[in-house]
């Protein structure tokens, strides 16, 4: 197998995730798009680990999975708090810190 087929698939997933982060307004859907981006990173890590025959790629993919789980927990807690305070999770309405 070529390395590039995995890298291009990962780049495709990453760009779809970036599109989702930019185009979505719903907070939960933005978090899902971030998951797509993190999974693209994991494919890259494991593919390079397989290329160099080193376990470091897999180990860091596992770390990324743990960090992604923490990120989803915190992110959903924040979305929940926003919903409780404003009865809406429309991210374009959240402009409290706009100057």
């Amino acid at each position: 197998m070529l390395l590039n087929q995995f890298l291009l698939l990962s780049a495709m997933l990453f760009c779809i995730g970036v599109y989702g982060v930019l185009a979505r307004k719903n907070g939960v859907l933005v978090l899902m798009s971030i998951e797509l981006i993190l999974n693209a990173v994991n494919i890259n890590l494991v593919a390079f680990g397989a290329l160099t025959d080193d376990v470091g790629g897999e180990v860091f993919a596992l770390f990324t999975i743990a960090v992604a789980a923490a990120e989803v927990g915190i992110g959903l807690a924040i979305v929940l708090l926003i919903y409780r305070n404003r009865r809406s999770i429309d991210l374009s309405e959240i402009d409290l810190m706009k100057g």
């Binding site: 070529l2 087929q5 780049a11 495709m12 995730g17 939960v28 899902m32 397989a50 807690a77 708090l81």
Partner: protein, 176 residues
Amino acid sequence: MSLLAALSADADLYVAQNVFFAVIAAAMIFSAVRVVTTGNVVHAALWLVVVLAGVAAQFILLGSEFVAVTQVLVYIGAVVVLFLFGVMLTRASLGDDESVGDEKRGMAAVVGVLLFAVMAIALIDSFEDGRLVIENPQSVNAVSDAIFSQYIVAFEAVSVLLLAALIGAIVVARKD
């Protein structure tokens, strides 16, 4: 194009793997596009399950069985359930997410396509001759040895991060 030539030369060696890769990759990209375009939040979470399972399948193709199992356990088992809870608790948005303006969607699509073009050119240019020869899968022994010797500091840091994040999530979401 040299990538296609390399791909066809490679196809003789790993026929089954390449067929599986193509099928899974097509399903993943279709599902990922559905995740970011569907109007229904619950459907988006279910399409996300297909993408995550496809990523696990790619890990198996790359010979990383432990990461694939962890992917299924943590992502499909826990993260998607967490998303569904998030959708349930913020049920006001269960309907459609069609409020995004067309110009914002268009700009996001332009950004995505340009980013992919840049990354694809760079990748094809840099890793043209990168070739994966997966003789035998990485053993779980090797992974655990590496985690608990070479990467022990990072492992402990991730443990503390996870604990802090979970306590922080409880503190943030708690009703006072």
